[in-house]
């Protein structure tokens, strides 16, 4: 007995505003190992209040994040990939233990997720050139249209865990200067811990990405009605929930997307940008 050293289990908390708080509700649910009834960890069952706190943090961080040079955002996203690399073993271990993946499958999943950050890192200062335009108007004006961030985006992750998709969704949303509140699916909620630690050590300002775990059934109804949320990326399968979010989302004309997309594509960025057309005078 005395020779054995007891393992230190990590408490999995939330990630809001760059901090790691517990849910204010004090509740948790059991993350079970895939295909079994065996518990892996207790994870936070976020409340509506946690969601609102996360939106507040995201809102607070948004303007400064958008104002950063796109090149700087690009470097930070690449830094996220570097940090995933450093935590590779922890992710692999988690996916093997909880998702029943083989070492090869788990390694592959982590690498695809890491590479999604690399892909969108490269897009931060390029999508503007791809989807912006110079408009030849009649009259003495330099007229140009360029994309800008929408603001705070809520991401509702699918229940079918896909690390690449999660990384791609987060990276694409923040690449243009949005901030995000992500509600993780229930199939691998414990991914919050290593992912949040990666984000917290990547020079990413607090509040740009906020991660919640919980029961979407409890939370979906407040997403549409929150006036500080400008856009929703809904990847959870329920048509009924989507309908409710769309109905309540009309209150502030939320931009709501739900179509499945390839992990690496421009449309994931354009889903969450606004086009601004500026008429600048020409003359002497």
């Amino acid at each position: 007995m005395e020779n054995q050293s007891l393992k230190i289990n990590k408490t999995i908390k939330l990630y809001i505003g760059g901090q790691f708080p517990r849910t204010e509700s004090g509740r948790s649910f059991v993350h079970k190992i895939k295909g079994t009834n065996k518990p892996y960890a207790n994870v936070c069952q976020s409340s509506r209040k946690d969601f609102r706190n996360a939106v507040e943090a995201a809102k607070g961080a948004q303007t400064a994040w958008e104002k950063r040079a796109a090149f700087n955002r690009s470097q930070i996203l690449y830094r996220v990939a570097e940090m995933i690399e450093g935590k590779k073993e922890e992710f692999i271990d988690l996916f093997k233990t909880t998702m029943g993946m083989t070492k090869t499958q788990a390694t592959n999943a982590v690498e695809l997720g890491r590479d999604a950050f690399v892909y969108y890192a490269g897009f931060c200062d390029k999508f503007q050139q791809v989807i912006g335009s110079i408009n030849c108007v009649s009259g003495p004006f330099h007229n140009f249209s360029s994309p800008t961030a929408m603001g705070v985006v809520t991401l509702v992750e699918s229940d079918e865990f896909d690390f690449q998709n999660l990384c791609a969704s987060l990276a694409a949303i923040i690449a243009s200067g949005n901030t995000v509140v992500a509600i993780l699916g229930q199939s691998c909620p414990s991914v919050l811990a290593p992912l949040a630690e990666v984000l917290a050590t990547s020079d990413l300002p607090g509040g740009v990405v906020n991660l919640l775990t919980g029961n979407i059934e409890e939370l979906y109804a407040v997403i549409g009605g929150h006036r500080e949320v400008q856009s929703v990326n809904f990847q959870f399968g329920s048509k009924e929930m989507l309908r409710t979010i769309k109905e309540s989302g009309a209150s502030n004309m939320k931009r709501i997307v739900s179509a499945k997309k390839p992990a690496l594509c421009l449309e994931r960025i354009t889903d969450h940008v606004e086009i601004k057309s500026v008429w600048h005078p020409i003359g002497v």
């Binding site: 004006f141 500026v278 008429w279 600048h280």
Partner: protein, 498 residues
């Protein structure tokens, strides 16, 4: 150049300003209405033919400048909507498979025909909607033709618009348009939809359907295949039936934010695509380093153009505190020269309010503004005895919390606020549920760029206002809607990218 402009403006204003003790009036310069042949009754344009509504029901359209009835229009109900949608559905296969080059040629034809019949369109637009003839003649109709001309050229170049992607048209599009720019809005909706290979059911506003029906004639004249464009007249219920129709794959709506929200809710359970161009409370920001005379022109154009029935109207003027007195004095002087009255008069600057209901809405909001204690100023002028008119006016000393700084009036009513620093101007400008447009007046180019980058609005005008062009994407942030009309971006809502 700027200095020179200032000078010429000064000279001009000296010329037209009545001197003390000297007063003159303009003679009437009425545009002839002979070019317009009004019918007593208009049908629905379905499958290339004009038809009475199935129920036989009609409603009247009137001239808001006189309150007199112009014509009876067929009132489309659910069954009529269905036959229009079926006609569009039937036409879809052939139209979407037609080469882009040929589709484009039809659109070029429509553009040319609008140009050829432009005066007829302009007079009819003014008769039915009450806008000054000089605006329908010089702005609405030319821009409508230009829009068709612009998108005609895209029809055979869609591969360049979506490089590396396979695209297909969406299908039958339901398009609902407002009464403030009737023909122009029809063009904004139809041109990109048709260029991309969609077919359309278009519903004009019940107050202003006549130019859309004249466009239907033009479409016949252009020999556009039957059913590609269907135009149905009616009221809110007609629009709702179009929105709800299961065969309509895409809705495009321009109008009030309230109805836009209703539409968004109505189709929440479907996969229909949606674009909305809704209301606004746009800020027109005047910095102390602006060319003041030009800025005052910009304020006037921003809010009094088309009687303020403009979704992107510069209805909130934010003026830097240091120049407030000068700007307001000059604005009052400039407003005193506005000619309000018969929209058919070529001298008229501000025409008739579009409808009795709208006039009542404007008046009630003005009453609220007065109750809240804003300093009120209106043009001292006589209004025609018949018809619906409103004197151009403004409220001074408004705050961001004032009703008139938050609620869209959609009339010639301006809310004026002051600010001290550029940061404060941006903060006030962005403090709105809307985000359609904004104006920035400054002679400092770097300042215009900086402020433009910080404003949450879809269209930013530097040292100008209310400029539109088919090549420039137009549309809002926040509750002003989503999707863009005009330019390359105006094609996006009308294709499915595979």
């Amino acid at each position: 150049m700027a200095k020179k402009n200032k000078k010429t403006q000064k000279n001009k204003s000296k010329k037209t300003q009545p001197k003390k003790g000297f007063h003159f009036e303009y003679d009437e310069a009425l545009e002839s209405t002979a070019v317009v042949k009004l019918k007593k009754k208009y049908g629905l344009f379905i499958g290339g033919e004009f038809k009475a509504s199935k129920s036989g029901k009609t409603f009247k359209t009137e001239n808001p400048a006189t309150g007199e009835k112009l014509a009876e229009l067929a009132l489309a109900d659910k069954k009529d909507v269905d036959s229009a949608v079926q006609a569009a559905k039937k036409a879809f296969k052939a139209w979407s498979e037609l080469s882009g080059k040929e589709r484009g040629k039809y659109l070029f034809r429509i553009a040319r025909l609008i140009q050829e019949r432009s005066r007829e369109f302009a007079v009819l637009e003014t008769l039915d909607g009450g806008k000054p003839i000089k605006e329908s003649r010089d702005v609405d109709i030319p821009l409508a033709a230009n829009h068709f001309f612009y998108y005609a050229g895209w029809a055979d170049k869609l591969d360049y618009a979506f490089p590396g992607k396979k695209i297909k048209p969406v299908g039958v599009c339901g398009q609902i348009i407002p009464w403030n720019f009737p023909l122009l809005m029809a063009a904004w909706k139809l041109a990109p939809a048709l260029a991309a290979g969609n077919t359309v059911v278009l519903k004009p506003a019940e107050q202003t359907s006549l130019t859309a029906l004249l466009l239907a004639e033009v479409i016949q004249e252009a020999e556009l295949p039957k059913g590609v464009v269907n135009i149905i007249t009616g009221e809110g219920k007609t629009g709702a039936a179009l929105v709800d129709h299961p065969d309509v794959k895409k809705i495009a709506f321009t109008g009030s934010t309230d109805i836009g929200k209703t539409i968004a809710k109505a189709i929440a359970g479907s996969d229909k695509k949606l674009t909305l161009e809704l209301g606004g409370k746009s800020a027109n920001i005047i910095f102390e380093d602006a060319a003041i005379d030009q800025a005052v022109e910009g304020i006037v154009n921003g809010i009094f153009f088309n009687q303020g029935h403009v979704c992107c109207a510069g209805s909130r003027v934010l003026v830097q505190e240091s120049i407030k007195d000068e700007v307001i004095a000059k604005l009052k002087k400039r407003m005193s020269t506005l000619r309000v009255g018969n929209p058919l008069d070529k001298n008229t600057d501000v025409g008739a309010i579009n409808s009795k209901e709208q006039l009542e809405k404007i008046n009630s909001l003005v009453a609220i503004g007065k109750k809240e204690g804003g300093r009120f100023h209106e043009v001292d002028c006589a209004l025609p005895k018949k018809g619906y008119y409103c004197k151009p006016c403004f409220f001074e000393g408004q705050t961001p919390a004032s009703t008139l700084s938050r609620v869209e009036v959609f009339g010639p009513v301006l809310s004026i606020m002051t600010f001290r620093t550029p940061d404060e101007a941006v903060k006030i400008a962005n403090d709105s549920n809307y985000g359609l447009a904004a104006g920035i007046w400054s002679e400092k180019s770097s300042k215009i760029h900086k402020i433009a980058s910080e404003l949450k609005a879809g269209v930013i005008w530097g040292n100008t206002y209310n400029k539109f062009d088919p090549a420039a994407p137009f549309g809002g942030y926040k509750e002003s809607g989503f999707g863009r009309e005009g330019g390359l971006h105006g094609l996006y809502p009308y294709v499915e990218v595979r």
